[in-house]
């Protein structure tokens, strides 16, 4: 938790407008917003934790459970939708048994839907770490998930 104190030290106590940057830094550091962090930020900024939680849930970026070891970002932009991202999303949902934004119970996988990633000529597009997978088809997903499982076990 010392990380959070390091982050807070860079900001001015009591200034409410630094709330979003603080939350963004905590998320970048921890991968999610832990409950302790919300309490600490609250006492630092002089805000109630419910206010902070209310704000954090308003924005899509913040999550309250850790990422899986392997995190998938699936583009749900208009072009990917037209090129058939819905069957891909359903196939991933089925393979993991979770909804977007959740993490599997064994902590291996999580996935989220993003707006346009900018790879409209390559759609549907998925990003895992720094790697992009393009021209996806729903029948490729089970094979891909198998490969990702071995990747997750290695980590």
């Amino acid at each position: 938790m010392s990380n959070i104190e390091d982050i807070l030290r860079r900001y001015r106590s009591g200034s409410h407008d630094s709330l979003i940057p603080i939350l963004q830094e905590v998320q970048a550091e921890e991968g999610f917003i832990p409950e302790e962090a919300i309490v600490k930020i609250g006492s630092f900024l002089g805000m109630s934790t419910t206010k902070i939680y209310g704000l954090a849930t308003f924005y899509d970026q913040f999550r309250f459970v850790p990422f899986g070891k392997v995190h998938l970002r699936i583009c749900n932009g208009t072009t990917c939708f037209i090129n058939g991202s819905t069957p891909i999303i359903n196939a991933v949902k089925e393979a993991f048994g979770t909804d977007p934004g959740q993490t599997t119970r064994d902590g291996r996988f999580s996935f989220e839907l993003t707006s346009c990633m900018g790879g409209c000529n390559e759609g549907p597009v998925m990003r895992v770490g720094d790697d992009y997978y393009s021209h996806l088809r729903s029948e490729d997903i089970p094979e891909m998930v198998r490969k990702l499982k071995t990747l997750a076990d290695l980590q």
């Binding site: 939350l23 899509d60 900018g118 790879g119 390559e122 992009y132």
Partner: protein, 649 residues
């Protein structure tokens, strides 16, 4: 102590170029600038596009492979990573400039193609199939039998003004930008003009805001300048959250310094000492390039305290938004910057009188600001000479969807959408039929085939009941179902509705529910379910009009647009879904039913064993049949049948 060559260039650029007040430069300065621009290279120069689209196509791997090839064979050549040219379908694009020859543009150079490409180029055996064109503006020896860049429809039909730098210089290098005449307009403005004069020039040019309403930029600046206050803010809205547009992101990555110069001039014009760039969440490549560019500008003294002894101070900050579509709205954006929920407020007061922390604030979009240095350089008359009566200049569009060629284009105002779809994008992929052109993002409208002759013009679009929007154009062909597309947009808006006002929060939810009902499989088709569906459909139009009239901000007011426009233009498709329970594009899974051709079926049992709901019955080696009531329309049997005996009814 040996001098660092980087420092030498920095000193030269600051002393000889930026501090130089007169318009004419010394010949030796000009020569050195031309060297920095790589105008007459003595060794081969290889330019690799590394915009987001190119990275997704594998450009970074190609660049690595090129560098490896050059080191392995000990060939002296320079590899430059540049921003995006625009045609995303050609990515990864590689341009090769051999000394004394015209620059060549190659397309789709993935990692595995690098070796054969470079072998060909260095042994004078051009791989023709990957070649797009040669750049003929440079005054070198032309290649025989290779078309020039302005002979290709993609480039010929465009007017590339904002994009003039994109793809030609390394966006991470401030030196190259200054050598191309960058930041001189900012310094000229600070030295020669007063605040009002800059606002006047921009007003005279007729520049209008490039996102949404199309408000006159010069006028907006004047309002903020004339509001009495001790401090003002300039905000660059780079939060492009339309799910199908990538214009701002691409220009920002391809030419970040021009955006910064535009922000500097705009901040000076409105008298702001703090400028904030509000950047889209998750745009990692944009953030990295922008941060490096800002750092370089600070290092050169182009931002900070007392810029080049002019007495003008400016601090530019990047703020990452946290992922809420509604924050593109001005008042919601300000709320988000102040650390609140991004919810729209009632206007007036407008942000130009009371914005961020209650101070006058100007919010401009990336594309608008990119125009500013160009207007200061060429003058307002030059800008007025482009475009139509009411809309001056050019407009960027990101073409996406099912076009044969897609990517970022810049056209002069007044160009028709037909030129864009049929000329620049070269029609539809795989020879399919054009269905509609979606313009203006998730709250935009649809242009039908016969409406394509509308010109790109604020007023003409308003008359046609639509708006310019953010610049996203989605080409839709007959493989897409209109009802499903409208449902997708409604789902998006419903998720992004901030929840402050009831018409938007509840209206989007109800409309989504009704649309989902229309495409759902009629499992329990008892009288009640049917009645509910029809009742909902009858109410859709009423809900839409109430939302339009009573929502607080633009998000809710425009949310029913896709639905209304689709219903007006593609009513028969909606009726087919509702009455005939049929989807002509075969997209709506719930409405698909399959049947087995008894003559073709061999009774192999492949389909029956894979059917997830056991809806296929039959005896081995006899024709099988499908029970419609059990079928969920997943299509697994259709994909698995080797004898094409299964067809969609």
């Amino acid at each position: 102590m040996k001098e660092n060559p980087g420092n030498g260039v920095r000193k030269f650029l600051i002393e000889e170029v930026l501090r130089h007040h007169s318009d004419t430069l010394k010949p030796e300065t000009k020569k050195r600038l031309s060297e920095i621009r790589r105008e007459k290279p003595s060794i081969p120069v290889i330019y690799v596009n590394t915009g987001t689209a190119a990275v997704i196509s594998g450009a970074l791997k190609s660049a690595g492979a090129i560098e490896e090839y050059l080191t392995d064979l000990a060939i002296k050549a320079e590899v430059v990573r540049v921003g995006c040219h625009g045609p995303a379908s050609f990515e990864p694009i590689v341009c090769i400039h051999l000394p004394g020859k015209n620059k060549l543009i190659f397309r789709n150079i993935t990692e595995d193609k690098v070796e054969s490409l470079l072998n060909g180029v260095f042994h004078n055996d051009m791989p023709e199939e990957d070649l797009v064109a040669q750049d003929g503006n440079t005054g070198f020896e032309a290649w025989q039998g290779i078309p020039f860049i302005n002979e290709i429809p993609w480039f010929r039909l465009q007017k590339r003004v904002i994009l003039s730098n994109c793809g030609f210089y390394n966006p991470c290098s401030i030196e190259e930008y200054i050598a191309r005449g960058g930041y001189l307009q900012f310094l000229k403005t600070v030295r020669n003009y007063t605040y009002e004069e800059v606002c006047d020039i921009i007003e005279k040019s007729g520049l209008r805001g490039r996102s949404g309403g199309g408000f006159k930029t010069g006028l907006k600046w004047k309002y903020a300048l004339n509001a009495s206050s001790d401090n003002r803010y300039m905000i660059c809205n780079a939060k492009e959250s339309d799910p199908g547009a990538y214009t701002d992101r691409t220009v920002l990555e391809g030419d970040p310094h021009r955006l910064i110069e535009g922000i500097c001039i705009a901040s000076y014009a409105v008298g702001a000492s703090t400028a904030i760039i509000f950047l889209k969440a998750g745009a990692v490549h944009s953030l990295e390039k922008l941060e490096r560019a800002l750092e370089a500008a600070r290092d050169y003294g182009l931002t900070g305290h007392n810029i080049f002894s002019s007495g003008f101070n400016l601090e530019i900050i990047i703020r990452n938004e946290a992922g809420a579509f509604v924050c593109g709205e001005e008042t919601a954006l300000i709320g988000s910057l102040e650390g609140k929920r991004g919810m729209p407020e009632l206007k007036p007061p407008y942000p130009t009188t009371s914005g961020l922390y209650g101070k006058p604030t100007v919010i401009n979009n990336v594309e608008t600001l990119m125009n500013v240095p160009l207007i200061m350089e060429h003058g307002p008359e030059w800008f007025r000479s482009m475009g139509t009566e009411g809309s001056k200049g050019t407009k960027l569009f990101s073409i996406a969807g099912r076009g044969r060629l897609i990517g970022l284009v810049e056209v002069e105002m007044g160009t028709t959408f037909r030129t864009i779809v049929e000329g620049i994008a070269d029609g539809i992929k795989e020879g399919r039929a054009f269905k509609t052109l979606q313009i203006g993002g998730p709250s935009g409208t649809f242009l039908t085939e016969k409406n394509l002759d509308i010109p790109v013009d604020y007023e003409a679009l308003r008359e046609a009941g639509t708006a310019m929007g953010s610049g996203g154009l989605v080409i839709v062909d007959d493989t897409t179902c209109m009802v499903d597309l409208v449902r997708y947009y409604m789902g998006f808006i419903h998720k992004e509705s901030c929840g402050k006002c009831i018409p938007c929060r509840e209206g989007t939810g109800r409309m989504l529910e009704i649309l989902e009902n229309v495409i759902r499989k009629p499992h329990t088709e008892d009288s009640n379910a049917t009645l509910e569906r029809f009742k909902g459909v009858m109410q859709l139009e009423t809900i839409a009009s109430v939302m339009k009239d009573t929502s607080l901000c633009g998000l809710g007011q425009t949310a029913p647009n896709p639905f209304i426009s689709a219903l007006n233009n593609y009513r028969e498709e909606f009726e087919e879904h509702i009455f005939d329970r049929r989807c002509r594009a075969n997209v709506c899974r719930g409405l698909r039913t399959f049947s087995i051709d008894v003559d073709k079926c061999t009774g192999c049992t492949a389909c029956a064993s894979k059917c997830p709901t056991n809806a296929i019955y039959g005896t081995r080696l006899q024709p099988f049949f499908i029970v419609d009531d059990k079928c969920i329309g997943c299509g697994i049997c259709f994909d698995i049948c080797k004898f094409s005996a299964i067809s969609v009814k």
